[in-house]
Subunit: 500 residues, 2 copies
């Protein structure tokens, strides 16, 4: 399959970032990134112009990025600029110098365009269908109203974390209550004007402030953390963080677990901005996503019009499977057999047949073997590692943990939630048992990897389940191997297993 690459260069107010995406018809992934703390907006507020030193840093960084793209042989490059460069009166001179020094053509995004890329990042990395996307950067904040996954309203405010910190919270010192209140009032009066914030739905957050707050909230709650994708920060948790940060200096905040060192001075103002939006919009929680402006730009190129994945959860699973998986015929067949088994047992009333559980089973079956890309030995554990590391867009941390644990137990061992118990809901232990058992049995039926067992009929009796295998060749070993899974089946479905 031909592999394409796109480099997105994001010239933000605080930092410039080059991100390389590789993609084919069946998968995409981020393969490279260079980040440089250019702070091109330094001194801009006071003068309205990009200053000489920041401009020189920006130009040298763009030269480095151009060298990098050249060295790795990429010619598809999209360079975009946001708030600081958008607002600078000497923008034209900068763009010309950039062109001359690096050969790069930089596209300056309007506030609406910037909001749109944040929206594209959010709806293509979460299941948000109705609600609001909040994208908080250093210079500006974008809010977008989403209805049936479509963008219906969207605009940008100069309420970025750096701007708000500089204006309302004195550097280094612990802030006074009055200062925080002034910040809150300012943000509220600005965003209330939108008029469409409090029309319900979910709130999804994009940007470094949201990611840092999610990481901090996750750690504060003692939850296992494999990234923040899909993590929901409740307003209570956010208020606790604001309370904590308010009593600290910037350098103390920088050492709160989850907060990156360079963000200690900005995190409090950022948190207050978000909390105020939640207040005004009547949102009880904000869901974090790791995708951002850069992914928005990439998705537009990847997907065409409309730039939306049909089903984010399905795309996530297929993307991961395609990146790591070699033997699709086998994987798809294990998925088919495990769903047949699960459906047959649901039809007979052995379990409830919850469609969400069915989707997790499908995801597990599709991903159970991806760990072989690392090493055959312990590949069940490597599959878990890859699943947990993937930050699966569209799935919650709890769901990712369940898929990971089920994949880990697809060969052997006694399924258990292990370190993920803190993420679980009542009944998840049983759900995990059912998924692991269904995948493990399907794997045994498909042991010869040649789809010899076409399908299986399920006959359920009071205390036993009998699988009738449909095959044209001798499948004695598959039958034996499957029968050996009696223990895991009994634990999951409370019945004896027999195979004929």
């Amino acid at each position: 399959m031909p592999e394409s690459r796109l480099a997105v260069i994001d010239c933000g107010s605080n930092s410039f970032r080059l991100v390389v995406f590789n993609y084919t018809d069946s998968w995409w992934k981020r393969t490279d990134e260079i980040h440089e703390a250019v702070r091109v907006g330094e001194g801009l507020d006071a003068t309205g112009k990009l200053q000489a030193d920041p401009m020189e840093r920006a130009l040298e960084t763009l030269e480095l990025y151009a060298h990098f793209c050249n060295a790795i042989g990429i010619d598809a490059i999209r360079a975009v600029a946001t708030s600081a460069i958008r607002d600078a009166s000497n923008q034209a001179a900068f763009l010309k110098a950039a062109r001359k020094r690096s050969g790069l053509l930089i596209e300056v995004l309007s506030g609406e365009e910037e909001a749109r890329y944040g929206y594209l990042a959010a709806v293509n990395s979460t299941t948000l269908s109705q609600g609001v996307v909040l994208d908080l950067g250093g210079g500006s904040m974008q809010l977008t109203r989403v209805d049936g996954r479509e963008e219906t309203e969207g605009r940008s405010w100069p309420l970025g974390a750096v701007r708000m910190t500089e204006r309302f919270l004195p550097e280094g010192d612990k802030p006074r209550r009055k200062q925080i209140k002034a910040l809150r009032d300012h943000v509220a009066s600005e965003v209330e004007r939108a008029g469409w914030l409090d029309e319900g739905g979910r709130l999804t957050g994009v940007g470094g402030t949201v990611r840092n707050l999610a990481a901090a909230a996750q750690l504060a709650a003692g939850l296992p953390s494999y990234g923040i994708q899909g993590f929901r920060i409740t307003r209570d948790a956010l208020r606790d963080l604001i309370e904590t940060f308010s009593a600290m200096t910037a350098s103390e905040r920088a050492s709160v677990p989850g907060i990156k060192f360079a963000r200690g001075d900005l995190i409090l103002a950022g948190a207050v901005v978000i909390d105020t939006v939640m207040e005004v919009g009547g949102f009880g929680m904000i869901e974090a996503t790791a995708a951002g402006l850069r992914e928005g730009v990439f998705f537009e190129s990847l997907l065409g019009d409309p730039p939306l994945f049909d089903d984010v959860r399905e795309v996530t699973v297929r993307n991961l499977a395609a990146q790591y998986e070699a033997d699709f015929a086998h994987t798809e067949h294990v998925a088919q057999l495990s769903l047949e088994l699960w459906d047959g047992l649901a039809a007979a009333g052995v379990h409830r047949g919850d469609p969400k559980e069915r989707e997790l089973l499908w995801a597990t079956a599709m991903l159970h073997d991806i760990g072989t890309a690392i090493d055959y030995d312990d590949h069940h554990k490597h599959s878990r590692y890859l699943i947990l590391s993937a930050g699966m867009p569209g799935y919650s941390p709890r769901e990712v943990a369940l898929i990971g644990q089920a994949a880990r137990y697809h060969r052997k061992g006694n399924p258990g939630l292990g370190e993920f118990t803190a993420l679980a809901r009542p009944g998840d232990e049983e759900l995990l048992n059912r998924i692991a058992a269904a995948v493990r049995i399907a794997e045994q039926l498909e042991r010869s990897r040649d789809q010899a067992v076409h399908a299986c009929d399920i006959v359920v009796e009071d205390s036993s389940v009998s699988l009738r295998l449909r095959a044209e060749v001798d499948v004695t070993i598959a039958r034996w191997a499957t029968e050996r899974q009696g223990d895991v089946f009994r634990k999951a479905f409370g019945r004896e297993l027999s195979v004929s």
Copy 2:
């Protein structure tokens, strides 16, 4: 690069195993495995013949393996049989039936051939140059004398763990001292006849008994365990395990951490056989390797004549790098720059210039980016995961931990031994600081990935080190980025860093 595959089918006395190796000119890896507990040797000792039921299980398993090879499209297959099939009087009838049912031609190995494959597995997965390879299976044990990496003597004894358990230790019950002594005496009298056991060198162990004992010893010592490759079991540790096992029933032994469930009945006899060989040969420790007969067969195909890797440690690093790495020009350049820096500092007397440390630095530089194969985000942590999971042949667990930790700190963070402290020797903290700092600085110099910084000259003064970069293009950003690593450099080399 064209990818080839070889399936090795090992028809052992206890279990049959199909292993698939994929390889190109630059890497090889195990990609698949099916294991079936056939127990073809059941009842053989009493009658001298393969019995009807075990034979049928064996034939069905071979059919399954043939289906599997067909399904995944492999036609290069080498099927070999050892002890049980070698010794059976109805061997010919079995081989004919196997041919008819599965199409497979099984090659029956002599004891000497079996010993040779154990030897090839050991010398190609460890640095053993002088000493003895012990390969303990269910039916037989092979010992091979190695001199300058060559096999000088080798033979097989019917002292396998199953045979010894059945003959000397009553099933299920706790053994009596007398029984263990009888087993020891028997083994000692047998192996003493070789006459070349006690000629010194190292002892390297192959086979499931050795792997289980190594895992148990590692856990008993409270060491972090990422596999047993290169772990050394001291005689004291082995005696402690024998002591423990002797006071237990077979099912109690099966639940000792590190011992696989199905091995509880066999592990004591196996441990006593190994301990007796150590006693007779005067060995103070036995080094475990994960490679076995199957790898021996594969290495013979892969390597031709002589079937020996020139340098096992180098091959391990290059094999891993080639499996996961895309950008070789970058990796090799980071290795070159980091070695230049390290060498320059050694020449100026800033550190001792230990060649072992230099080799670990080279390995780290070659592997620092392999984690990008998993995901760009956190790729330094993924690199560590891949390094630790690889079971790097030729390196000790301590060395693997040091390479893994240095790769983990090649981008940011304060280098530390973390959970690997228990494996470390005095001075390893400092060694890790030096390796991490050298790789991190080289990585920053090679930030544009285009080898713009050709080389660097190092000028050392009392309290400072100055790097003079050789480059034809502007490398301002590389210089800045490198200078920002002043902290990690100071911690490692006790001097200020400047770059010009």
